[in-house]
Amino acid sequence: MIILYSFLSVTLLGLIFGVGLSMASKALAVRKDEKVEAVESKLPGINCGACGYAGCSGYAEAIAKEEEEDLTLCSPGGPDVALELAEIMGVEVEISNQRMVAQVFCRGNDERSKTEFVYQGVTDCNAAYLYFGGNKSCKYGCLGLDSCIKVCPVDAIIHDEDGCVWVDKELCISCGKCIDICPTGVMKLIPHEADYIVACNSKDKGAVTRKYCSVGCIGCKMCEKASPEGGYKVDNFLATIDYSMDGEREAASVKCPPKCILSLKGVTVKDEKN
């Protein structure tokens, strides 16, 4: 008897709900935008804002509604995501396959570079920069107060063992936030494959630079001579590397008097002392 009752009651309930719900869902149907969802599912979902929208969903909506035509704005996702988006949207995208990463072009820590005054205040590079461009004598270098570290969505930036601020290029997703926030302009993008960088940003004359920093580029052009194929170029008393040249760069790094050309194979620099 009880089995019969349970059979009847539950089956009836199931029937009512099954039929009811499927009818109701038809009667009350509201169309969902599947495209937005499809696009959003392809985005990495870090909500870093590199695309310029308020989070991934914002970008997804703009793409799906065809308000945004540029499908390559998501730098964390890189070319793969752009291609997937293109597929969903049925368009072609042109992408450069080079992965870029941010890096700090300065190796001046407390020991190596001089300061002009004692700074006391908010621990933030922009706050420090408000007053006389920061307390370092060098107005181009890294202030080391972690603005970029705080802003990086993937914690790619750290203080390395020298106390210098440094980007772990494997973690960097090239969102550019650190470059935006850095007041001194000492962060720049380099190719992920870059083997050497000139880790200095000082545009002061060599003699001036030498006075305040022991690892600052003095613009002596030694690198240009030592590695002529390496793409080294000195401008404004500062050497830079043109990464489209793929010649040898090591000789310059060895010859450079202040040793500011670093190999990126080992992650950090050797101190000039040892």
């Binding site: 300061t115 002009e116 005054f117 004692v118 700074y119 006391q120 205040g121 908010v122 706050a127 408000l130 007053y131 006389f132 307390n135």
Partner: protein, 362 residues
């Protein structure tokens, strides 16, 4: 050039007012000292041990955690103060592991889990106290009769006035004129001090019952630092004058509580509305200590005057509810930490009115 190296650059203002965190904390500590000395005087030397253990445990926890998180916060005095308050909130006969656990809980769980001084949203000392109270109710409710009261047989394990009344009222029926009469009917002990003072008042034609005098002076069983309403009041007034606390919370708290007791307090004695005895309830239990020193903890109370008033009224209401209807004789500590929960919400709705947004008159 070397002169330049030493120059200090800071943002404005270039001068600073006299207050510092450490000064505030040590001044609060100072203002608590008299009440503590009284507690030690009436409850005996063991009180020193209890207070010492709480302070030590809290300062050591603070030191260890601050070391781990590479900060130095011992000298700001807040851990010392928390420890002191925990000590003050313990019965003199409490097993010593209890204050130690309370202090560690206060500092580690309630304070540093939230980032240390200023990050916590619940009063550490009270949370610590409540934690051990709920864990070891027995140890936390074993009271010592003050040494100033001589006519009792058992000085340890005597009910506090509030506890006595609560237990008595659980199965009470009939009519009585309030707690004072209840205590004297049941022969609750009083001090010689109260006798002589009451006599003195009697000579000038004022009758005053022993209970009020003992409650005011601190000749009642209770936690070490909470019994002397007089000395706590003086400490509180000192803090008010030094502008370390503001009037809002004490006035709102005492006011709302007294009002509720006056209106509804008599119902428990079957004497009807408007017959409660607020004075008795303010003078006994942890009211003075709680209202003046713990509800006013700036970290865990609302930030604007308006908010503080809401906070005080809420705490007054809850204290009333718990004291009169809950199962614990004492409601202050619970009421305060309950209101601590509401502080972020209160702050949200009591922001200051911005200049130039009030629809200025032209």
């Amino acid at each position: 050039m070397s002169e330049k190296q030493n120059m200090l650059i800071t943002a404005s203002p270039q001068i600073h007012g006299p207050e510092t965190t450490a000064k505030i904390m040590w001044l609060v500590t100072l203002s608590l000292v008299p009440a503590g000395i009284w507690g030690i005087f009436v409850f005996g030397a063991r009180s020193i041990l209890v207070i010492g253990v709480s302070i030590l445990a809290s300062v050591i926890s603070e030191y260890v955690i601050a070391r781990i998180s590479k900060k130095s916060t011992i000298l700001d005095g807040s851990a010392f103060l928390t420890g002191l308050l925990i000590g003050y909130n313990m019965p003199a006969a409490v097993p010593l592991f209890i204050p130690a656990v309370a202090s560690v809980f206060a500092i580690v769980v309630v304070k540093w889990s939230f980032g240390g001084l200023g990050g916590n949203w619940m009063n550490p000392a009270l949370a610590g106290r409540v934690f051990v109270f709920f864990s070891w109710t027995g140890g936390m409710t074993t009271w010592t009769m003050p040494g100033t009261v001589h006519n009792v047989a058992d000085t340890v394990s005597h009910a506090s006035p509030l506890g006595f009344i609560k237990a008595g009222l659980l199965d009470f029926s009939g009519a009585l004129h309030g707690p004072v009469e209840f205590l004297s009917n049941q022969g609750y002990p009083h001090s010689g001090m109260a006798e002589s003072i009451a006599e003195w008042f009697g000579n000038i034609g004022i009758t005053i019952s022993y209970t009020y005098i003992d409650g005011f002076l601190g000749n009642i069983p209770g936690c070490i630092g909470e019994v002397s309403a007089l000395l706590l009041l003086l400490g509180g007034i000192f803090l008010l004058i030094r502008k370390i606390i503001t009037w809002h919370i004490p006035v709102a708290y005492f006011g709302s509580f007294a009002l509720l007791v006056w209106i509804f307090g008599g119902l428990r004695y079957n004497t009807g509305f408007f017959t409660g005895d607020p004075l008795f309830h303010i003078l006994t239990g942890g009211m003075m200590l709680g209202v003046l020193f713990m509800a006013t903890d700036m970290v865990t109370s609302p930030i604007t005057g308006k908010g503080m008033i809401i906070f005080g009224v809420g705490a007054g209401l809850l204290t009333f509810m718990i004291r009169f209807y809950g199962s614990f004789p004492e409601g202050v500590s619970l009421a305060i930490i309950l209101m601590n929960i509401f502080v972020p919400m209160i702050n949200r709705y009591t922001q200051p009115v911005r200049f130039g947004t009030r629809g200025s008159k032209k």
